[in-house]
């Protein structure tokens, strides 16, 4: 079990055992990250595979200015966004009227397991899914999301609002099903 710095060094040298260890250390968490931007687990695994190939090919560019986990997560997210962008035109440059007061903070999700929440996320339209994941879970600002997705900041905000509304509806329905 290597520490992070030694693990990176050994991976850069092409040591397959170290690369395998890095993969096993991060693959589980990164698969969940990938699934937040994908519709199915198969798609998420394709993204994960592509992302890890990039990670190993570019690990010597990792300057240790951030944590290794954060750097890997960025690559997984970027790969996921690029991967899905190839298939669907997701982000029209249309600003949707901003709706700031959504009243959704009262949506209770504490009792839901992450797999249930993943299913809810994957049920969102792709654009909403990505923006919601980026903003709510990864913690990006709308300006940063706009840069990443080549949309306006307003579009990011409106798509996020739409995602919250859709999630609220789904959670309410899910609660009704659960609680009869």
């Amino acid at each position: 079990m290597y520490d992070e710095k030694e693990l990176v060094t050994r991976c850069c040298k092409g040591e397959r055992a170290a690369q395998r260890e890095l993969y096993e250390r991060f693959a589980g968490k990164m698969l969940v990250v990938s699934m937040r931007y994908s519709k199915t687990k198969d798609d998420a695994e394709d993204v994960l595979q592509e992302a890890f190939v990039k990670i190993f090919n570019n690990l010597d560019n990792f300057r240790q200015e951030s944590s290794l986990g954060y750097w890997i997560k960025r690559i997984v997210i970027n790969t996921a966004l690029n991967y899905h962008r190839k298939h669907v035109y997701l982000y029209p440059h249309l600003d949707i009227e901003e709706r700031h007061d959504l009243g959704s903070d009262d949506i209770a999700i504490e009792n839901y397991y992450y797999k249930d929440l993943l299913k809810l996320l994957q049920a969102l339209p792709k654009g909403c899914q990505a923006i919601f994941s980026l903003y709510a879970i990864e913690g990006y600002k709308h300006k940063e999301i706009a840069e990443m997705l080549e949309i306006s900041e307003g579009t990011s905000k409106s798509q996020y609002a739409r995602a919250k509304l859709l999630l609220k509806d789904m959670i309410i329905k899910l609660g009704e099903v659960k609680h009869g």
Binding site: A27, Q49, K86, I109, L117, E150, E153
Partner: protein
């Protein structure tokens, strides 16, 4: 419910839910990743192998040339000083004079004893020493009674060897090859052959009648002749000597007709070296030098204000920098060359080369084609083009190393000064080259970006730029009219590769080694 979670915002609740979430990937996923890495590594190893193989081949070629240059003289002895009576070989070359020499040789063999008696011991010693001096064997510098016995023995040996060589060539004869710039006159050195010390020329005559000279006039080179001539060596006028009839090989520099006429040569070459497009900022407009990253030297940037106003850059307080730091990579070019040897020392060369010159660069910015959603690298070279086109928008991606290839056709014109050493020719040359831009291709190893290709006539590059050439190298005669050439060359641009309106300057330079084969017609 945990009370602390009640105070979490909606987003924080989601973050909390996924905080430690993990999902086991499919069992075969690592295998797929491993095979992808193997494929990438094998291509990298292949490129490294090509590099090391090229370096090894160059090293072997250099060692070979150095070895031949260093030890070649031991194998190629234009002058051995060994007695040789195979005058019949030269019959066609020397005509009637040779026949006269043969006759004289026979005559003198018969009269040898008489000559020795009549000319005296001292003179005989001198002649023996002359013979010894001409041969590579060390000998006494001055004549004297004490040397009589040894000198007589040496002479006897010479005569025995001369008699033997009439029917059987000596081993040293077999080692003799014919250098291009020398011819050999096999002749008898007659008694009282006049030696002109002032112009260092020698008149060789078949006998002492001073008629029908076998060879006369300069330039004549006697390989073992001392600097001040034979007179200094023997402290007496050469005319006073009675020269015993012996047969020697004497190298004679001949006036080759080919040297007075331009000699045409042609060949093929492959060049390996490093090329740098050397992008520079323009002080007053366009890209500005930027200390963006201390780790990157020679970094230049361009503001992206010319990008589509619909892009997100519009709202950025600080415009992003486009960086293009090109690092030279090992590159190859191939071509044909031809030229003329105008004189013994001067040559004129030209040719046609095609080079695919590789550099690496890095960028974390890209542009997206709005129509097909494809990502392309955003570099200093395509900034203006995509910036003026609303069909593109800017994007960020994970910083990646890019390969940038510059393809050129080049037509060099060089004047060379040649110094000849037997089979080796050292040449110093300078000239100019017209470099015709074909295309610039930028590819992304990580596969995030599509290849960007800027062709001639489009983009920021001129169709042709000129560079100065400086080179020095060697040509070695390997076989008959074939030469191998090894010529390290440095070139630097005379004018900018980039157009004035491009907003940046590109003044490429390169250093490489040309390896080639030439045929002299």
């Amino acid at each position: 419910m945990d009370d602390s979670k009640k105070h979490l915002s909606f987003e924080e609740k989601w973050q909390e839910a996924f905080n430690d979430a993990e999902e086991a990937p499919a069992a075969g996923l690592w295998k797929n990743i491993e095979s992808s890495i193997n494929a990438t590594e094998s291509s990298q190893y292949k490129r490294r192998f090509i590099f090391y193989r090229t370096v090894a081949a160059a090293a072997v070629a250099c060692l070979l040339v150095l070895g031949i240059f260093t030890f070649g003289d031991r194998l190629i002895m234009p002058f051995t000083g060994q007695p040789d009576t195979t005058l019949a070989d030269q019959k066609n070359k020397n005509g009637a004079n040779t026949e006269a020499v043969q006759n004289n040789t026979t005559q003198n063999n018969g009269q040898q004893q008489t000559n020795e008696q009549s000319e005296g011991i001292e003179q005989e010693n001198s002649i023996s020493e002359l013979a010894d001096n001409v041969t590579p064997q060390p000998s006494a510098k001055h004549s004297g009674q004490a040397n009589e016995k040894a000198s007589a023995k040496a002479r006897t040996n010479d005569k025995a060897l001369a008699n033997q060589s009439e029917t059987q060539p000596t081993a040293s004869d077999k080692m003799i090859s014919e250098p291009d710039r020398y011819d050999e006159v096999k002749t008898g050195v007659p008694a009282n052959a006049p030696f002109n010390n002032s112009d260092r020329s020698l008149t060789l005559r078949p006998n002492s009648t001073l008629q029908n000279p076998l060879y006369s006039g300069a330039p004549v080179t006697l390989a073992a002749l001392p600097a001040n001539g034979v007179e200094d060596l023997y402290a007496q006028p050469i005319e006073a000597l009675t020269v015993e009839q012996q047969i020697y090989r004497i190298p004679v520099v001949i006036q080759d007709d080919k040297k007075t006429q331009p000699v045409f040569f042609a060949g093929v070459n492959v060049s390996t070296g490093y090329f740098n497009p050397n992008f520079n900022s323009v002080a007053s407009a366009g890209p500005q030098a930027n200390s963006f990253d201390n780790d990157i030297t020679n970094f230049y940037s361009a503001e992206t204000t010319k990008l589509s106003t619909k892009s997100y850059y519009q709202n950025e307080p600080n415009n992003y920098d486009i960086g293009e730091n090109n690092t030279a990579q090992l590159s190859f070019s191939y071509g044909v060359d031809f030229g003329w040897a105008l004189s013994e020392h001067w040559s004129l060369e030209s040719g046609l080369d095609y080079g695919r010159l590789q550099t690496s660069t890095a960028s974390s910015l890209a542009v997206r084609n709005r129509s097909n959603q494809e990502l392309y690298p955003l570099l200093i070279t395509n900034n203006n083009e995509v910036g003026a086109n609303s069909g593109y928008s800017a994007a960020r991606y994970t910083q990646a190393d890019l390969n940038s290839y510059f393809d050129f056709f080049s037509v060099p014109l060089k004047v060379g000064y040649n110094i000849n050493f037997n089979k080796l020719n050292v040449v110093f040359a300078s000239g100019v080259s017209a470099n015709f831009f074909v295309k610039n291709s930028v590819t992304d190893n990580t596969g995030q970006l599509n290849a960007l290709t800027i062709k001639a006539g489009n983009g920021p590059f001129r169709n042709v730029y000129y560079s100065a050439l400086l080179s020095s190298g060697v040509n070695y005669n390997i076989l008959n009219n074939y030469f191998v050439t090894i010529v390290p060359t440095y070139s630097f641009s005379i004018n900018s590769l980039s157009r004035e309106e491009s907003g940046f300057k590109s003044q490429p330079y390169s250093f490489g080694v040309d390896f080639g084969i030439r045929y002299i017609f």
